[in-house]
């Protein structure tokens, strides 16, 4: 209510010193407004860290309990695609950081370019994830959907993986727990992908707004805070990649 334009343009403006239109007048200054939104964004990101932290903890506990099953199940993941996606995501974080810089420097063209590049890199990440997911679907490695233990009770039946790792056949009671690995794999990468999808949708909105000159007026809070979100999603992947793909290559 206190944001009503009548008050903003009338009574308050008269006894306030001049400030830019984007400063809400319950803030003392633009800097205070920026610091406050930055603080709030970090509080949100901390709740996100706790949320993903639960998934990471579950993964570490079950990996410790059903170690042989988790090792063999992780051999199903393709390190090449995982590495490619890590590079794609780091690049998108870089283009996003450059986007924030462009907004700060009030360079509209560069900002739009950076946001479009981030948008495209985000889509490439999801595209590679789709390739990986469809492989799991073909092999019946999706938990709960006609899950197949064949690759684990008889590794030689899965020649592509077998020639790389030469895994020994697992007893049925341990092999069953590979389903738990894939459950956590889909839960963690799926939640991460959902964050990417939400981010890409917001990026699409931001590209339209940026083309209209919305973020190059000195008011960069939205771009900056979206950048924090995007980098946070990158950080989650920085830990998902070694834990899911890399650490079980040996043993």
């Amino acid at each position: 209510m206190s944001d009503s334009p009548a008050i903003a343009n009338g009574a308050v403006a008269a006894d306030h010193h001049e400030h830019p239109a984007y400063q809400r007048h319950h803030f003392h200054s633009v800097e205070q407004q920026a610091d406050t939104t930055n603080f709030a964004m970090w509080l949100f990101l901390l709740t996100e860290i706790m949320f993903f932290g639960g998934l990471f903890t579950a993964y570490l506990i079950f990996r410790n309990w059903y170690y042989p099953a988790f090792v063999e199940a992780s051999h199903q993941l393709n390190i090449f695609w995982g590495t490619a996606n890590t590079a794609v995501l780091i690049s998108s974080s870089f283009t996003m950081a450059m986007g924030v810089w462009s907004a700060e420097m009030r360079r509209k063209g560069t900002l739009v370019l950076c946001l479009v590049l981030t948008f495209i890199l985000g889509l490439i990440f999801l595209g590679i994830k789709t390739i990986e997911y469809s492989e799991k679907i073909e092999k019946h490695h999706v938990p709960g959907f006609h899950y197949s233990l064949q690759s684990f009770t008889n590794p030689a039946s899965d020649p592509e993986i077998y020639k790389e790792y030469h895994d020994k056949p697992m007893a049925l009671d341990m092999a069953r727990h590979t389903e738990l690995y894939f459950f956590l794999y889909f839960a963690m990468t799926g939640m991460h992908a959902l964050h990417m999808i939400i981010g890409i949708a917001i990026l699409g909105f931001m590209i339209l707004r940026a083309r209209a000159g919305a973020y190059t007026t000195g008011h960069v809070t939205f771009v900056e805070n979206f950048g924090l979100y995007w980098h946070f999603v990158d950080i989650i992947w920085i830990f998902l990649f070694p834990l899911l793909y890399l650490i079980s290559r040996h043993q």
Binding site: E31, W42, M50, T86, E104, Q251
Partner: protein, 113 residues
């Protein structure tokens, strides 16, 4: 109007602590390249047999990469004390929760294997 914003920007620049820090692109490029190098390192390390140290090295490299992202891409290095304290307190709480939970689960069958 533009004179006013210029004046405001100048005034802002004088306020030392409240100054809006603009990270130059060269910093972003250096961090970007470093992150790619560490990605190559962690993949390379996974192909070397190191026993129990494989996950430790992988996680250590992950922590270094995440720290670089938080400090530079997310600009925490140049942010207010409030933000720094918030990030640190959050990570500390996270480490305490995950650390104590894992210590419990990993030690339940201690000596019985």
């Amino acid at each position: 109007m533009s004179e006013q914003t210029e004046h405001a920007a100048h005034e802002q620049a004088q306020h030392g602590e409240h100054e809006h820090h603009i990270t130059p692109p060269v910093v972003y490029v250096v961090i970007f390249v470093t992150l790619l190098v560490f990605t190559a390192l962690t993949v390379g390390a996974s192909y070397i047999e190191m026993g129990v140290f494989n996950p430790i090295v992988a996680l250590a490299i992950g922590v270094v990469k995440a720290t670089l992202v938080v400090l530079f891409f997310m600009g925490v290095k140049y942010s207010t004390k409030l933000t720094k304290l918030t990030v640190f307190a959050g990570l500390f709480t996270f480490m305490a929760l995950i650390g104590m939970t894992l210590a419990d689960y990993f030690s339940r069958a201690w000596g019985r294997w």
